[in-house]
């Protein structure tokens, strides 16, 4: 039995906000903040050039895990610091970005590999498929618990760098990267200048899964087909991890990119997000675009939005 699917912007979310949502995350952030960051940088000459220096980085996050990333910054001989920072957060099955192109544009850019991604998976590796449903009936051990913190800790890494202007820190990503953009902008709302989130995932989890059979949300449908009695436990966990509950904590300007034909992250959930974001919001909703969220055209919008708020100076060509 089917019903007509209403326009995406008429959707009303089923997400609830737990009374102790802020306390839950404040406690986790406090736990992470108590750990020394212990940042490490190793030059990667193979991925560097006359304009950009590339480093493999590591830092410590929740539970003492060492988190990897790529750090690309303008070569000082080509462009003097300070640089604005851009934290680039990865999609679900994507490899962490080696952000050389952003560095050429003038950013000191970090491509984060949260736990479970390659190079950060020695102690936590639920795999793909797998991460989305890892301990999904327990908020205290759910797979995204440390994952969200790992992205937020990248802010601490950029704040440890003297070549970075700490008053200009942006965050950007699509899909899961869009979700991490939102959680990072919320958990580090004291220092994030702006964020650009494309086709945000982990937003209205339960509603999204009911609107699609595409992965990754299909992992939830598979789980519920097998364990239907666990639906309420799942919902109770996910309410602590839903970007719709992080969004009111965000105060910086945000750009949200939406594909109105997105089967992976249904656009209904993105419109729910627009309703609850705490700061100023720009958004572009692209008809007939899917999980690309209009990337062919939207790329320039994202670059322009970030540049308006972060004021990078492109590295001159040599």
């Amino acid at each position: 039995m089917t019903t007509v699917r209403p326009p995406a912007n008429q959707h009303r979310t089923s997400v609830r906000k737990p009374d102790d949502f802020e306390r839950f995350w404040a406690d986790l952030m406090a736990e992470a903040n108590a750990l020394p960051l212990d940042p490490a940088m190793t030059p990667v000459p193979l991925r560097s050039n006359d304009q950009v220096e590339t480093f493999e980085i590591h830092y410590t996050s929740l539970d003492g895990l060492r988190i990897a990333g790529w750090y690309c910054r303008p070569r000082e001989s080509a462009l003097a610091p300070p640089y604005p920072a851009l934290i680039v957060v990865p999609g679900y099955i994507s490899e962490p970005t080696l952000p050389k192109q952003w560095a050429k544009a003038g950013y000191a850019a970090v491509g984060v590999a949260p736990r479970g991604k390659l190079r950060s998976n020695s102690r936590f590796d639920p795999g793909y498929p797998g991460l989305l449903i890892e301990n999904i009936i327990d908020k205290n051990t759910y797979g995204y618990r440390g994952f969200y913190i790992d992205a937020a800790r990248a802010v601490d890494f950029v704040r440890s760098r003297p070549e970075i202007d700490h008053s200009r820190i942006g965050v950007q990503g699509g899909s899961q990267g869009g979700a991490l953009t939102l959680t990072t902008a919320a958990l580090r709302r004291d220092v994030i200048t702006c964020g650009a989130a494309g086709a945000p995932y982990l937003t209205g989890y339960m509603d999204a899964a009911a609107l699609t059979r595409s992965y990754p949300y299909e992992e939830m449908n598979e789980y519920l087909r097998r364990y239907p009695e666990r639906e309420e436990q799942m919902r109770a966990t996910l309410d602590y991890y839903d970007c719709l509950n992080f969004a009111p904590m965000i105060s910086c300007p945000m750009l949200i990119s939406i594909g109105l034909g997105d089967d992976v992250c249904p656009p209904e959930t993105a419109f729910d997000l627009l309703e609850v974001l705490g700061g100023p919001v720009d958004y572009n909703a692209w008809p007939r675009c899917a999980h690309d969220a209009g990337a062919f055209w939207e790329g320039a919008s994202i670059s322009g939005f970030l540049a308006r708020h972060l004021h990078p100076i492109p590295v001159p060509s040599t």
Binding site: T2, Y128, A210, D292
Partner: protein, 300 residues
């Protein structure tokens, strides 16, 4: 790109290596991904090396034979399991080549890094093994008893085209985006990964340029294309762009069978549904638009 004098011998040696190794298929049903409409399996196969690779297999429930679809692995550590829509219509096989997750013991690929691993020689380049892995998956799918041998397709980048050229039996190739095609020219027009890996490598090792070109010549899709006699669905970018119609013309001309060009609109929903419909027509099944027009109350 010049076809090497020992091109055929190079590929026949890979075929011989594969033929000499028992694929030892091991199927394990995965109830989590099985439904009343299809049954899913984890599959392990042995490829050259010997190396144990992994694949997701899904078979529609009911009376076969069914059309079949091989998903060639993407560039990256993860491939999604077959999509619900495909599992209803096709026997679907998604191969994880050596180094990708689920096929990462003992070798785990680096990203970036995989593209240039061993590229100084065609005998050491990692893609020699990767193509063998895809062909091993093709052999499994083409011989599966539930598969209608007249309706088998392969989808993905030009690794899929090479595999189809080497393993007769594919009626259709859905070439969604080139990867190795004209890559030494493409690298001069982009700084995006993974092609940027070649720029990194050749900047670090400029003396290796001739060796790299020689290695790539064995994998030139244009050299393989005449051997593929089926129908090729060819996605094209805008005129003048990388992978636009002029850029793809040498490949189109070299293909041994009919070509169905599709000009990408850059609207992901439009393009998905159009390409799904073209492939469905080739394999004589119903198209399935990806975005559901109605909220599915019975999804689970």
């Amino acid at each position: 790109m010049t076809r090497p004098a020992d091109f055929d011998a190079y590929w026949e040696a890979i075929d011989a290596e594969l033929a000499a190794i028992d694929p030892a298929p091991a199927l394990t049903e995965t109830p989590l991904r099985s439904t009343e409409r299809s049954t899913s399996y984890d599959l392990k196969l042995t490829s050259i090396g010997p190396y144990r690779i992994f694949a997701f297999l899904s078979v529609p429930n009911g009376e076969g034979p069914f059309p079949a679809l091989l998903h060639s692995p993407r560039y990256g550590s993860v491939n999604n399991p077959p999509h619900w829509d495909d599992r209803q219509r096709y026997v679907v096989l998604t191969v994880m080549h050596r180094g990708q997750r689920l096929a990462d013991t003992p070798f785990a690929a680096d990203y970036p890094g995989l593209l240039t691993l061993g590229i100084e020689s065609p005998d050491t380049w990692i893609y020699r093994g990767i193509l063998a892995d895809i062909m091993r998956g093709a052999e499994f799918l083409l011989s599966h008893p539930s598969v209608d041998p007249a309706r088998v397709a392969i989808a993905g980048d030009d690794l899929g085209l090479i595999a189809a050229a080497r393993r007769p039996g594919f009626a259709t190739v859905n070439l969604t985006a080139p990867f190795l095609y004209r890559i030494l020219e493409a690298r001069l027009r982009t700084d995006a990964y993974p092609i940027e890996e070649l720029n990194d490598y050749l900047a670090m090792y400029p003396d290796a340029a001739d060796a790299v070109a020689n290695t790539l010549s064995y994998f030139d899709p244009v050299a393989h294309a005449p051997s593929f006699q089926g129908t090729a669905i060819l996605s094209e970018q805008d005129p003048g762009a990388l992978n636009g119609p002029e850029w793809l013309e040498p490949l189109r001309s070299a293909l041994g069978g009919p070509v169905i060009p599709y000009r990408l609109s850059h609207e992901g929903g439009t393009d998905h549904d159009a390409l799904d419909a073209v492939l469905a027509k080739q394999l004589r099944v119903s198209p399935l638009p990806r975005l559901w027009p109605a909220a599915m109350k019975t999804i689970r």
